[in-house]
């Protein structure tokens, strides 16, 4: 039996890069798909709308843990074997896209209709109106919620430990198994999450305040 010393602590801290990497992958992947979802909703195509509604309601309606299990154990039965990292990244991307898509769509919708009309009166194409008039305003509006969601994503990346991906939660479990010091180890892990997430929360609050002053 080993005690919870510096090497063990370093092992947990080093695993932090995997938590950060996983959150970043989920955020970027989810952001790209989410942006596509938000924009496609404005195409007003019945089929596309239907698909998007089913997609978002389905993936918002199931627990992320279940999505991880599906991506890792589920689809291996139809011959697609993903590594824990690939499975976790896929699950986080799908999950994030369902939430970010809705956040961004509602931000786009909250820009008054007259702004679209003014774009039209300047003879801009719908795409150009979106690009130069609507999006810049919507992005400012959606920024605090987006950063807020990023906090959630960092926390949710902890669920990748269930499928065996070694980020800080899993590293904590592994260290606990050899040191039998769960309180200290999980305490350290909690502090690490707390530092990242409160920095992001603080950023989101600041953005919201500066936004309120600007409007």
């Amino acid at each position: 039996m080993r005690s919870f010393g510096l090497p063990e602590l370093l092992y947990v801290v080093e695993a932090l890069r995997w938590t950060l990497a996983l959150s970043a992958i989920g955020f970027i992947g989810g952001g790209l798909v989410g942006a596509l979802i938000a924009v496609l909703r404005f195409a007003d195509n019945r089929l596309i709308n239907g698909v998007i509604i089913i997609y978002t309601q389905f993936f918002q309606g199931i627990p992320l843990l279940l999505l991880m299990l599906l991506c890792y154990y589920g689809i291996s039965l139809i011959g697609i074997q993903l590594s824990p990292l690939q499975a976790a990244a896929t699950a986080l991307t799908i999950n994030a896209s369902a939430f970010l898509g809705v956040i961004w769509e509602s931000a786009l919708r909250s820009i008054p209709r007259t702004q679209w009309e003014s774009g039209e009166s300047l003879a801009l194409r719908p795409w150009q109106t979106l690009r130069y008039i609507i999006a810049p305003q919507a992005i400012r509006l959606a920024l605090p919620s987006t950063v807020g969601f990023l906090v959630q994503l960092v926390k949710e990346s902890s669920l990748a430990s269930v499928i065996g991906f070694v980020e800080i939660t899993r590293a904590g479990q592994l260290v606990t198994n050899i040191t039998f010091a769960p309180l200290e180890v999980f305490g350290v892990v909690a502090v690490l999450y707390f530092i990242i997430c409160s920095l992001l929360s603080w950023l989101s609050r600041r953005l919201e305040l500066s936004l309120r002053q600007a409007m």
């Binding site: 627990p63 599906l70 809705v102 909250s110 919620s145 939660t169």
Partner: protein
Amino acid sequence: MLQYLPTLLDGLWITLWLAVLGIFLGFALGVLGAVASVSSIKTYRIVCRVYVEFFRNTPMLIQLLVLFFGLPALGIRLSPLIAASLALILNNTAYIMEIVRGGILSTDKGQYEAAESLGLTRGQALRFVVLPPAIEKVFSPIVSQSVLLMLSTSIVSTIGVPELTGAAMQISSDTFRALELYLSLAIIYVLLNYIFRAALTILWQALFKKTGQKRLFQRVAKPIVITKLDVRSGNNA
């Protein structure tokens, strides 16, 4: 496969219990906490702030692991089910506190002055004048948070509680039919999602009859996302 149905039904039962417990106790404690967090006593405000910041900035999985594996080091041994319930309640309390606090803070100062001019104390003003409309205003984020809590009950499978996900994990290791199993489970969760949304909305309209202006299905089909925009649009409604 059919022989495993009772295991899954038992799991459903535990999921429902955990979710109901977390939602209602979390709501009750959250409202109390929200009142304390706008109190004139500084200590209360600080304690509330620390509580909310801690629970909102750490994953529920870690909270659960600390409660279940960490506390025995201090001589407090909890059963998996108790640890699970506790984690869900404590976690939900923090989120509801923050949501309701937002509702209270967005109340017009004039409301307090009106209450004061009627001779109500600050506590009475909060209880009778400010709190009811404040909670009403944040209806939609509270329902979203409750549904999210129901979904996060799945996390307690990691400490061996055989709720829906835990039961499915057991069955899957017996049968190796993970795909069908997890897909069926996904459909069950999606249905639960709508059932909870509908049930909470009906309950809400029974409690606050006068505000049932939106049709039930519009409320139920609303996406989950709790955003700052959500709170803002709640203010306009």
